[in-house]
Symmetry: C2
Subunit: 164 residues, 2 copies
């Protein structure tokens, strides 16, 4: 019983219980994503952006002139949400919207100079933060993490292509 009390106390303190959840892949993914993002997302907000806005900015820095639907996928946000985020970012002159001459339904989104400047400030910070995270994971666990995630993503996308 001394054993039990000690264990219960440790569980209480660490917030980590044994059992199903703490070894469940979807929990580990969501918890790791949340925890790993927390610090950097705080910086993003201090830079005056909300998280989805930062994602859009980063996506556009990679691929300028993307359309709303693509941005929604890449920035992990829903389409109608993206439409509104883009509108707000346009109001703040971080980007501009232009309808695609080749297909009038499409709206292509381009960074403005100030949007590009903000991206040029934040992307290196993101990379620095990422490097710090990777350094926490020295050893082969660290080396395997990104490839494993990519391969999971690839498998899931392949599945989607067949099914939905």
């Amino acid at each position: 019983m001394t054993q039990q009390t000690t264990k219960a106390k440790r569980v209480e303190e660490t917030g980590r219980a044994p059992g199903f959840v703490s070894d469940y892949l979807l929990y580990l993914l969501a918890a790791a994503s949340d925890a790993a993002s927390a610090q950097f997302h705080a910086k993003v907000r201090k830079a005056g952006l909300r998280v989805p806005e930062w994602r859009v900015l980063a996506c556009l820095a990679d691929t300028d002139g993307a359309m709303i639907t693509q941005l929604a996928r890449r920035a992990l946000a829903e389409q109608s949400r993206l439409t509104r985020i883009i509108a707000q970012m346009e109001d703040r002159s971080l980007l501009i919207r232009r309808s695609d001459p080749a297909d009038g339904r499409r709206v292509r989104v381009y960074l403005t100079d100030s949007g590009r400047a903000l991206a040029a400030e934040l992307v290196p910070q993101a990379q620095k933060h990422e490097a710090a995270l990777m350094e926490m994971l020295q050893g082969n666990e660290g080396a395997q993490l990104k490839p494993a995630l990519k391969s999971l993503l690839a498998a899931l996308e392949a599945q989607e292509d067949w099914q939905g």
Copy 2:
């Protein structure tokens, strides 16, 4: 230029661009978490639960009688949000709240029989779904994923304990 056109077209189709984002750890974590969860979360909603409710249910199935703050951490939700989720789940008789006799500020949450029954239905489904995901990742990438995530989480929590 034939090369370029082909590449641009593939990017357009797959929605995956080269560049910073597609190799960025925080993107990979968030995207993998979203994609991996999507199917199962659809089942959760068909079972009449929202995602945070399912998480609470699973946490309580592991550790009954947890307090709100603990549940918030484990279910990856903010405290005030948890308070409301718990209230709604209590209205639906999935759980009951009891104030802790040892410390009147604390509210301990216990599954009801019907809450436990729902958990007993969903947890095995979650495990089955998880097994299917792991099967997609045969080879050592799969074997390394969970340990890598756990070790990242552990490192981040250790950091939090020092800093804030």
